[in-house]
Amino acid sequence: MSEAVLADICVVACADTWHSCGEIMVSPFGSIPALGARIAKATFSPDIVLTDGEAALSYGVQPLTARPSELIRESYVPYKAIFAVVWSGRRHIMMMASQVDKFGNQNISAIGPHDKPKAQLVGVRGAPGNSVNHPTSYWVPDHNTRSFVDHVDVVCGVGNDRAASAGVGATRFHDLRRVISNLGVFDFSGPDGSMAVVSLHPGVSADDVTANTSFEIAGLNGDVAVTRQPTADEQAMIDDLDPKGARLKEVPST
């Protein structure tokens, strides 16, 4: 079997984030996490619930290109019900991060001073509440020193250091899991809950990561695992679920 393209490696890395997660809502942001969630649901985590992007749970596993009219809706979850799920903890979100730091603080609000940003981004959205209520992971399709930063300009999703400072109200259900980028898979098993490498994607070296990260990531000095390839079944599913190749626009192959 030939090696998968980088985007497909990233898809299964996202899927593995939800391995054996049980009956929870998975909320993926970005095409690659959206495919990963579908792969997980179709294979090793069949109890995952996904929304239709509007106000319902979507039954089964549907392609990214499915029109709303093609989805089977299994129950009704308007935003009010979504907040109830968020605050119950039965959810694992994978948000994107324009900036993420060593302890997993995430920024999607603005770059530069908050009263007059250099670049306005989407806004804080539900990131503060998500990150202190249920498992949270991040997807960064472009790993570089501007996205993996010393300090984020606006703390939206709360990192391990900031949660600890805010006390038990913040830490009780705070649970940062993974950061997945186009270079590798990371978690927060480093010193004091800092970022550590889990695996690097095929062809990526520790030096590549160091050169593209503004802080030190634990575990890069030893033997580092290589992110796994999709199985043949997974590869076929990815192709079926993303016939237009949205994933290849998110992470182009070099």
Partner: protein
């Protein structure tokens, strides 16, 4: 006989005064009371504080110089991540922003609607939201001991999300009756009931208005969530959420939204857009949109 709450769009906009805090229903580019927003653009009203799950309502009002302050967690067009008028205003530093987590926003409206000063929340803890607005306070769990204490939250600090009372709320529904009951047939009722519940003046626009007691003929009565204890005045504005989505009446007008977003990127093209679509009243807007569509 219960008195009719039906008024004209002009009378509705007359309820909104400079300096007020206004809550706008809908979410992003979905079921926004755009006809009333457009009427506001052409009014003398200014210096508003806008509370919104923001979409083009916020972009347009801010760009028109109507807004002193915005309380929101985002301003999005859904299929376009960021409203370009909002982006420009923020990057020029021309509007004050109280940036708030989406869930805190919900709790703030709920607190106002329930007439309590705050509701506790984990959302916000540890984030920049509470630092950027130092007026946000925390509260220590008062049930750290005693018969109601729960293990795990002893002495926990929680955000005391303040009530967000509104001087006026505006929402858009699919069908309403003359005495002020509204039915939302669109997929998500969002927090429109809370916007109205949090407000002193409660204003509704609707695609169509029908006789009292007949709403059940237009959809499941469970969808008539905007009951008349939540409303003061109501006006018919067909296609009044355009260009945002208001299913099942109409989907988002993606082509027109793209025109809006593209035009908003520079002053010259924005002036052309504004002159063509926003210089007249609501009837002129709808006519201009029909004409534009015919040209496509």
């Amino acid at each position: 006989m219960t008195e009719s709450k039906e008024v004209t769009l002009e009378e509705l906009v007359g309820e909104i005064e400079s300096g007020m805090t206004i809550g706008i229903g809908g979410w992003g580019s979905r079921r926004k009371p755009m006809a009333l927003v457009r009427a506001l653009l052409n009014s003398d009203v200014k210096n508003l504080t806008v509370v919104s799950y923001g979409g083009p309502d916020v972009g347009l009002l801010v760009n028109a110089g109507k807004v002193a302050k915005v309380i929101c967690g985002f301003v999005t067009l859904d299929s376009i991540a960021l409203d370009p008028l909002w982006r420009a205003a923020r990057q020029q530093g021309s509007v004050e922003l109280v940036e708030i987590d989406e869930g805190m926003f919900f709790l703030g409206l709920q607190a106002a609607a329930w007439r309590v000063p705050f509701l506790p929340s984990r959302a916000g803890l540890g984030s920049s939201v509470v630092e950027n607005t130092p007026a946000f306070k925390t509260i220590t769990n008062p049930y750290s001991d005693g018969p109601f204490a729960q293990a795990g939250d002893e002495d926990a600090e929680l955000v005391a999300v303040p009530a967000l009372p509104l001087d006026v709320a505006i929402v858009h529904v699919n069908v309403a009756d003359q005495i002020g009951n509204g039915m939302i047939l669109a997929p998500d009722p969002f927090f429109d009931d809370l916007f109205l519940g949090a407000a002193t003046r409660r204003l509704v626009t609707t695609e169509q208005i029908v006789a009292p007691g007949t709403l059940a003929e237009y959809g499941p009565i469970e969808r008539a969530t905007i009951h008349r204890l939540l409303t003061d005045k109501i006006a018919v504005t067909p296609n009044g959420a355009h260009f945002t989505a208001n299913e099942p009446d109409y989907k988002r007008d993606e082509a027109f939204q793209k025109l809006y977003a593209t035009s908003a990127k520079d002053e010259e093209s924005w002036n052309v857009f504004a002159e063509r679509f926003l210089s007249g009243d609501e009837a002129a807007y709808q006519q201009a949109v029909r004409q534009w569509r015919d040209e496509q």
